[in-house]
């Protein structure tokens, strides 16, 4: 049996929700409410000690990290044709997803939290929130939440996220000028992994990600958004409007 622990269909959770829909495999859904800190609860940390969603559970095997889960799914369901199988094509697919992981994931988290999470947290009781953040059992994760709680995003932080987004968009514009898809000549997990970020960046980084500045990227975005599997995945939202809820994500690289 396949089970998926996930949050709203945004960023990392969206990647795997889309991939499962594309493959057409049935799964049991476990909604983990990240805004209620359920990812840090004992029950969930027994599933993933790193306290992150999504988690794919296949029988008794636990798989984490959204881009690696999608690589697993692409390899396990080759008939879905979601990744190139030749050596160079596979290399191109996995380095692209890694590039997005290191550059767009953390940028989207910063910009998404600035726009949606910080105002949400502002309405909560500050004492309770502080206690909850101090009780986060994974040390690396406290600063991100603290920053959102204090709405302390500085120019440097936001500028860094915007610069990374702009660099990625410029790269995509170049690639998509000559090709319909990011890697090779067909739709792949590289497109899924990137779409899950860009679909939200057009909202939270609209100065950079817009139809005038990035026409090729928008045509690509439209092509993907039209897919029935993608529509179905984005419609699995539970407590929030799709694309309007974010949590602190992976930190920006600490060392070159």
């Amino acid at each position: 049996m396949i089970e998926l622990y996930h949050w709203e269909p945004v960023s990392h959770s969206a990647r795997v929700l889309i991939c499962l829909q594309e493959i057409g495999v049935d799964y049991k859904s476990h909604y983990v409410d990240l805004l209620e800190f359920e990812q840090f609860a004992k029950e969930f940390m027994a599933v993933n000690p790193f306290a992150q969603v999504p988690v794919l559970k296949v029988n008794d095997v636990i798989l984490t990290e959204s881009s690696l889960i999608n690589e697993y799914l692409a390899e396990t369901y080759p008939d879905a044709g979601l990744a190139a199988t030749d050596s160079l094509g596979w290399y191109g697919t996995i380095i692209w997803s890694k590039y997005i992981d290191y550059n767009l994931s953390s940028s989207l988290a910063t910009l998404g939290c600035l726009k949606y999470l910080a105002p949400m947290l502002n309405e909560r009781d500050s004492g309770e929130l502080k206690d909850a953040i101090n009780a986060i059992p994974v040390a690396e994760r406290q600063p991100g939440w603290q920053m959102a709680a204090d709405n302390a995003y500085g120019d440097e932080q936001v500028g860094h996220a915007e610069r990374k987004t702009e660099l990625a968009i410029n790269r995509m514009e170049g690639i998509l000028a000559d090709s319909d898809w990011l890697v090779g000549d067909s739709y792949s997990i590289a497109d899924i992994d990137t779409f899950a970020m860009i679909v939200s960046l057009q909202d939270v980084a609209s100065e950079i990600v817009n139809r005038d500045a990035a026409p090729n990227t928008f045509e690509w975005l439209d092509r993907i958004a039209d897919r029935p599997a993608v529509k179905a995945a984005l419609a699995t939202n539970t407590k929030h409007e799709t694309g309007k809820a974010f949590v602190p994500g992976p930190e920006h690289s600490r060392w070159g």
Partner: protein, 257 residues
């Protein structure tokens, strides 16, 4: 014949060197001296515009991501497989790759750059150093070189890096208690990548990595050190970094010479 541009058989450069030798692939070794900024010179930038090491050139294919390069090498060349058959073990191999590259490696690297790379180049002519830094294509790499050369690491950043290295060691020790190799029952790219980061830990972090405190990690290191490909790999080293391998072998009693 594939050409590999690499520096010391260490960290990122070590990964494809070991993978190629394990597969029995003959390749042209192009030693690229990081301490002379060879990787930022025009000839090299013409091959890899990002100015990072290593770069693998195979026919028309140019590959510059060291972890994923291993998958290409394994898929492209015959020889013993370096990726497990089972999909979940492949996932686990990649999970470790991500953990090494995203968590453990950067922290260990920050410490390494503060104690080795920075001091190794600091005595060069300041104007020349500045010119060398200005030529680096990636902003993140420019920032890293400046920090190493001018020693502007903050105490907090170094302390956090040390904390993560120790946390990483704890995670390695637990994982290697569950299975003999990082991905499962067989040696894979995860072990190659892990070894490139961990091979000197018994002397660099002697207080925390030793027979008594981390028996699983030491046993695993012994198993990897005993592989003939590892002995071949360290022959490509030219600095005292590679000599640490002999010191570790002497200390933990690993095979090979």
């Amino acid at each position: 014949m594939p050409e590999l541009y690499h520096w010391e058989p260490n960290a990122n450069s070590g990964k494809p060197i070991i993978a190629l030798i394990e597969k029995g692939v003959k390749f042209e070794s192009r030693y690229t001296d990081l301490l002379e900024f060879d990787q930022h010179k025009p000839d090299y930038l013409a091959i890899n515009p990002n100015g990072t090491i290593p770069t693998l050139v195979h026919g028309n294919n140019v590959l510059a991501e060291s972890t994923e390069m291993g998958e290409y090498i394994d898929a492209e060349f015959s020889g013993p497989p370096l990726r497990p058959e089972k999909p979940e073990e492949r996932w686990r191999m990649r999970w470790w790759g991500k953990f090494f590259d995203g968590y453990f490696g950067p922290s260990l690297s920050m410490i390494g750059w503060s104690i080795f790379i920075g001091p190794s180049v600091r005595d060069k002519d300041p104007e020349e150093l500045k010119r060398n830094i200005d030529r680096i294509p990636l902003k993140e790499r420019r920032d890293a070189w400046r920090m190493a050369i001018y020693n502007t690491f903050t105490d907090e950043a170094l302390a956090e890096s040390r904390r993560r290295v120790l946390r990483g060691i704890e995670i390695f020790e637990n994982a290697l208690g569950e299975r003999p190799y990082f991905a499962g029952d067989s040696y894979s790219l995860a072990d190659i990548n892990g070894f490139c980061m961990a091979y000197a830990l018994p002397i660099m972090q002697a207080e925390f990595v030793n027979q008594e405190k981390t028996p699983n990690l030491i046993d695993w290191l012994r198993r990897i050190y005993s592989r003939p490909a590892i002995t071949e790999t360290f022959k490509l080293g030219r600095t005292p970094m590679a000599a640490r391998a002999d010191e570790v072998r002497e200390l933990i009693g690993g095979g090979g010479q």
